[in-house]
Amino acid sequence: MTAHLETGPRLDDPDALYEALMAAYRDLPDAEALKLSAKLVLLLANHIGDAAVVREALAIASGRTDG
């Protein structure tokens, strides 16, 4: 069975995670912010470890499908 990207709500405390993300980005100049996003994408993609799932996320994120 192939895995699918989970898009239903899964986080216990979404507000806290969102806050942590904002805090990490708050004082960064644009170039640093871009690099932080890139590092996050790479770390999480590797954690997922399934390129098909990451591609699904990529398609939704770039508006090529509405999921």
Partner: protein, 570 residues
């Protein structure tokens, strides 16, 4: 400027074809005595096929271009009789390091497992192998090389190709049956046929400096991103023969190529990098790199090989290596067509096999170039993210791409291969990979073997014809029909292989004492492998069957119908 190498000069000589009114005919003409044209001419000569080789210059490559020769190219050179010279003269290496600023972030070892005649890579200036191939062509005596003979016009007629050749004594005309266009990236043959050379130019410039120095750097490929001595750009350091080191400085698109080539400018860049070390400049040039190819490499009686067919950026060492593999793929096919053992349509398989190989080279070198030269702020952010993570995070190291080094193409899905899941082949679920490497289409891996008590290499034993490799256990009986295959046209030479000496019924026996040939070729007692004349696998079976072997050989020769079989046989 070069100090360590003096280009040989080959004399122009007037020849009989130049008599007024003469239009001599040659079966095979090769245009361009560069790395690829010379490889093709020598390959044809080893197969007994004479050719006329025309070159517009009177020497080998001037200045250094290709330096990294991959294992498969070295194995091809071995078959052509010049492989040993690469090992003697060249620099064998297998480790590389990647630095970010002044820190090492990543080291790799191409893991040279023991038991191969040739290493993963040898570094050598391109003019050396070219010079050796000229010598080898003379030794074999079947190639007529005409220096200072520039092809200016090419016209394809129904049954032949007509060429105009310019010389110091003026132009002359000849015709040929087959034309091998090996005339490089600016191919005149391509221009004469009006063929489009499509692809992309990378918006970046690179300064290539060859430097003579006695340095204590280890024999490794070193690649820096954003080093303190050349901020914001990348630098590559690689060792060549004769104490010459190749240094590539990335300059960016806005650099002025003429200004960058000025010795003072180059020296100050080098001093920033090398400090007070003694060094001398050997060669400097500035390049823009591109990835492009022709739609098809066969155009009737004209076949394109090497840079005339496809051009790649040098990251990954795929230009010269890919071109040598083009010659390896084409020459046995052309020899079979000329000999009358294969239909002309066999030459279409050169496209089927080498166009995807070129695409693989272009894909890999484009990916490397995109990593080295990010296209915008976001791609730079990703690139830098990978580099910064790679120091601590193992997963990120595999994303660092300063060049994926050239591996031979496996010809997956080639029409010449008998798939493992066909009748007579191994029964496999659809789409399943074959048991054991190599799959049909791929080159044979090398391994140490013994023949008549003497150590040798599997690839050298395969040689350059069709070979049936049959794995035997000490007590398996020999199939009676094996010897008959050797007497057919074209012959299939049987080679038996066993873990220990045994009776071989007068047939050649390879002893695989270390079991490496068995492990690398997926051999168990009974396995039969059919190799093509370029040492690529044509078919694999769990047990020998003479009819299946003949059918697979015919398929590898592009013979698809009974009618064709009769026509070729008569």
């Amino acid at each position: 400027m070069p100090k360590t190498y003096e280009n040989p000069r080959f004399d122009y000589r007037r020849c009989a074809d130049q008599q007024p009114g003469a239009v001599a005919h040659h079966p095979v003409v090769v245009v361009g005595a560069g790395l690829v044209g010379l490889t093709a001419a020598v390959d044809l000569a080893t197969r007994g096929v004479p050719c006329l080789l025309l070159d517009d210059d009177d020497t080998v490559s001037f200045g250094s271009r290709a330096i990294c020769f991959s294992k498969r190219s070295l194995e091809i050179a071995d078959r052509l009789g010049v492989g040993g010279r690469f090992l003697e003269k060249g620099i064998t290496w297998n480790r590389g390091k990647v630095f970010l600023k002044d820190r090492e972030v990543y080291a790799f070892d191409l893991l040279p497992e023991p038991g191969h005649a040739y290493p993963a890579f040898v570094n050598l200036q391109q003019y050396y192998p070219e010079e050796w191939l000229v010598e080898r062509a003379r030794e074999l005596g079947l190639t007529e090389i005409r220096w200072k003979n520039r092809v200016t016009e090419v016209v394809q007629e129904d049954a032949r190709v007509r060429l105009t050749v310019e010389t110091p004594d003026g132009p002359y005309a000849i015709t040929c049956d087959w034309l091998l266009a090996c005339d490089g990236a600016r191919s005149q043959v391509r221009r004469c046929l009006g063929l489009e050379f499509k692809g992309q130019v990378f918006k970046d410039r690179f300064l290539i400096a060859d430097v003579i120095m006695k340095a204590d750097f280890p024999t490794e490929r070193w690649f820096w991103f954003d080093p303190p001595f050349h901020p914001g750009q990348s630098v590559l350091l690689h060792r060549q023969a004769d104490d010459v080191w190749r240094i590539d400085f990335q300059l960016g698109w806005d650099a002025d190529p003429e200004a960058e080539k000025q010795p003072e400018r180059v020296l100050s860049r080098l001093k920033a990098m090398l400090g007070e070390r003694d060094f001398e400049l050997e060669w400097v040039s500035v390049y823009t790199f591109q990835c492009r190819r022709l739609d098809r490499f066969r155009h009737g009686r004209i076949l394109f090989l090497g840079d005339s067919a496809h051009q790649v950026s040098p990251f990954g060492a795929r230009g010269g290596n890919g071109g040598m593999q083009d010659a390896d793929n084409l020459c046995w096919k052309l020899a079979a067509v000329l000999e009358g053992t294969a239909p002309e349509t066999l030459l279409d398989s050169y496209d089927d096999e080498r166009v995807p190989a070129a695409d693989d080279n272009i894909l890999n070198s484009t990916r490397s170039t995109d990593f080295i030269t990010p296209k915008n702020a976001a791609s730079r952010a990703f690139r830098d993210a990978v580099l910064e993570l790679s120091g601590q995070q193992a997963f990120a190291r595999r994303l660092v791409n300063s060049g994926r080094l050239s591996l031979p193409w496996g010809n997956a899905g080639s029409p010449l291969s008998t798939p493992c899941d066909e009748p007579g082949g191994v029964a496999l679920p659809p789409g399943a990979p074959c048991p054991g490497a190599p799959c049909p289409g791929a080159p044979c891996p090398d391994a140490p073997v013994e023949r008549d008590g003497r150590p040798d290499w599997l690839l050298r034993q395969l040689g350059d014809g069709f070979v049936l490799l049959l794995a035997l256990a000490p007590d398996t009986p020999l199939p009676a029909s094996l010897a008959a295959l050797a007497r057919e046209v074209p012959a299939i030479r049987p080679l038996l292989i066993a873990p220990a000496p045994r009776d071989a019924g007068g047939l050649p026996l390879l002893v695989d004492g270390q079991g490496l040939a068995a492990a690398r070729c997926g051999l168990v007692p009974g396995t039969a492998l059919l190799f093509r004349p370029d040492q690529h696998l044509a078919a694999r079976w769990p047990a020998f069957d003479a009819a299946a072997v003949r059918a697979a050989r015919d398929r590898a020769l592009g013979i698809v119908s009974d009618q064709e079989r009769k026509a070729v046989a008569s």
